[in-house]
């Protein structure tokens, strides 16, 4: 069976503006639950940054330039204990290494993006956006309207949350009592499960799960993410191309080994 129809880029006409709005609305719908978790996280980051001695401008500069919450908090922690610059930067790089994999995978779906848009698209490529964009690309076509509505709204939210946290300290006394720290894990779980019809899903996810837990136990964060992820990807490479249902179009006939 043919994989997917070759869809010519141009679909100009009256429908374009309507289509763009629909894409933006879909992006906002996908983003809402994520903001529930990201905003408190940003507030916590802003509050911690000021407590650690950063000015409001520095706390916001971090959020504006780096836009990666976990690595921002880790950098703060290391700076707080007086670690040398290279150790801070190495930690940031290790924590963010997974983005290389995101970037390689998502770049296959950015055909409709101009070079300038691509440059911006990679700047805002955070975990939830990657997951949402992959799900979108598997179902339909990934458009700039969807991608940037999701990405830039989240970016703006992150800056505002940082500002709120840095200005007013801990607005949310105890985010954990509301289970807000659980929103992102369960959101990622849901995103993962939406790929379960892909050919080698179970061996891949199973391997990543196992390796991640083991590495987490032995070496601790952040290495469990990169090593666990790479282990699952290696399994997929070993198994080779598989037929799948969730991706583009109906599955083929010849099923390879399960």
């Amino acid at each position: 069976m043919s994989g997917r129809l070759v869809d010519p880029e141009g679909r100009a006409g009256d429908g374009e503006e309507v289509g763009r709005r629909a894409e933006a609305a879909a992006a906002i719908r996908a983003l809402m639950p994520v903001l529930l978790a990201v905003l408190p996280f940003g507030i916590v980051y802003g509050a911690v940054a000021v407590q650690e001695g950063l000015t409001v401008a520095e706390a916001m500069g971090f959020s504006a330039v780096v836009f990666a919450g976990a690595s921002q908090l880790a950098a703060l922690q290391l700076m707080g204990i007086g670690a040398p610059i290279w150790a801070v930067l190495l930690t940031v790089f290790a924590l963010n290494f997974r983005h290389v994999l995101y970037s390689a995978s998502i770049s296959r779906h950015l055909g409709a993006f101009s070079p300038a848009r691509k440059a911006l698209a990679f700047f805002v490529l955070v975990d939830p956006l990657f997951g949402a964009a992959e799900v979108r690309a598997a179902r339909t076509r990934l458009t700039p309207a969807f991608y940037f509505t999701y990405g830039l709204t989240m970016y703006a939210g992150w800056q505002l949350a940082t500002l709120a946290g840095a200005s007013f300290g801990k607005l949310i006394a105890d985010p954990e009592a509301f289970g807000l720290d659980f929103v992102l894990p369960v959101y990622f779980l849901g995103l993962v499960m939406s790929f379960r019809k892909r050919g080698s899903f179970y061996p891949v996810a199973g391997t990543s799960l196992l390796v991640s837990v083991v590495v987490y136990g032995i070496a601790g964060p952040p290495w469990h993410v990169s090593l666990g992820g790479l282990a699952g990807i290696a399994v997929a490479a070993l198994l080779g191309p598989q037929r799948n249902g969730a991706g583009g179009g109906p599955g083929g006939m010849e099923g390879e080994g399960r």
Binding site: H99, A104, G179, F188, L189, G190, G217
Partner: protein, 111 residues
């Protein structure tokens, strides 16, 4: 470059903080752009590499979530397993709401 301990006890110089911020930002952008760069350098993608890339979301996001099973509190452990089961039948947003409410509820019960 600077091997000497940088900051401690609020003695961070303003300049060095901005150096860290800008360098961290550049490194992070490198990771976000790097995969795309590699892909365009190689041009065509062999089927095996393509299969590997298809596995990136499932592999990396599983690795992010997995430690909840060992490092989370009991509320999180119970909720993540129930949400895993629920996600076979229910849409994503519903699973997120149920999971969050479940964790909040279990914690209120003292788990």
């Amino acid at each position: 470059m600077n091997a000497a301990p940088l900051l401690s006890e609020g003695a961070w110089s303003v300049g060095s903080i901005w150096v860290v911020i800008l360098a961290a930002g550049a490194l992070t952008y490198l990771t976000r752009f790097g995969g795309h760069l590699l892909m365009s350098l190689f041009g065509t993608i062999p089927p095996r590499a393509s299969a590997a890339l298809d596995a990136v979301p499932a592999a990396v996001m599983t690795a992010i979530v997995a430690p909840v099973l060992v490092s989370g509190d009991w509320a999180e452990r119970i909720a993540i397993v129930l949400c895993l089961i629920a996600s076979f039948r229910l849409p994503l947003i519903v699973v997120v709401v149920i999971g969050t409410a479940l964790v909040a509820g279990l914690r209120a019960l003292g788990l």
